[in-house]
Symmetry: C2
Subunit: 199 residues, 2 copies
């Protein structure tokens, strides 16, 4: 029996659905699962399903939350005139942790990528013009990732908002804090020079 | 909101119960979970609980299986006179994959470790003398890991079986296949010299 029992394979294949989990990790986790009692696995599974059921996308910005609106949208102390467009909730949470932005967010839930067949209708963009108008937004900061898809998405949004009168900006490019010029790639260095500021 | 919603934290904490999963991995997996629909998470959770329910320990050797006896114990072509004692099912499956052993197994389900408060009664040893007698075992190969706990467990078992008349052996120590003497530690090298064989 060089193979695992069928039910064990089911556990392995199920765990492989988690992002970044290959077969070896899935097998390690599966041994963790069979090391638990049936009751513990029931609780493990129940925690996941129950918690997933109580999490929704904020109806306004797309952030994850347990109610209709997320804490950022509910917070009256946030600057409603600045809207930061991010690819996903992960980026939103990274910016929240950095604590350097006090506006609100708009989560796209992906990028526009014609090569992968993802058009503007596949991301959360339809509600953006309405939000800008209704919430009195003065500036939209496009904070998609500096990747090919992120850049083309930024460009698309900038064009889309061209005639709305709102100021559209892109997050700054350059050398990351603590980084070393010696190790930075050429594009980053060129962008850092272009993005220089008077001191 | 620099913190995640409570339900998201529940998912993160739940996934951290998997072996070797730290907070960062758990957060990545949690985003995978919330990226699934409720139905997909239900199916994910159900797969785990159902598969766990159908997996048991083989009543004879402790291997995992779906019935009462595992495929190794059920296989009449296996050599019943040789019994290989392993720490866990992972070790058993590694030996099965290597395909170099045709006897049966005895899975301890752990090691004896007085320092960590695990005595002989905490591993699956009580049934071993009975198995040796009933199954006509002539040789017991102790294949616990070459760690401090594995060695002391091997020693304990060897002493326990001293007067049963059965031949007790320990798996060979030495340089692993494809290994480099230059990188081997001193203990491994000393053991490799001690374990030399005439060619």
């Amino acid at each position: 029996m060089a193979e695992y029992p069928q039910a064990f394979e089911t556990i392995v294949q199920t765990l492989r659905r988690l992002p970044g989990v290959g077969r070896k990790s899935a097998i390690r986790y599966a041994f963790g699962i069979i090391g638990m009692s049936e009751e513990e696995v029931d609780e493990f599974a129940c925690n996941l399903t129950e918690a997933r059921k109580s999490l929704h996308s904020c109806v306004r910005c797309g952030n994850i939350c347990e109610g209709d609106l997320c804490p950022v949208c509910l917070d009256d102390n946030r600057d409603g005139e600045t809207l930061c467009v991010v690819e996903d909730v992960r980026a939103l949470l990274a910016l929240e942790k950095a604590d350097g932005f006090n506006g609100r967010y708009h989560v796209l839930g992906g990028t526009i990528s014609p090569l992968d067949g993802r058009g503007p209708e596949d991301v959360n963009l339809a509600s953006l013009p309405g939000r800008i108008k209704n919430e009195g937004v003065k500036e939209v900061i496009i904070a998609t990732n500096p990747t090919v898809d992120g850049e083309s998405t930024a460009l698309y949004i900038a064009r889309m908002l061209k005639n709305t009168g709102v100021k559209v900006t892109r997050i700054g490019y350059g050398i990351p804090a603590g980084g070393d010029l010696d190790y930075a790639d050429e594009l980053t260095l060129t962008r850092a020079i272009d993005g220089r500021k008077e001191i």
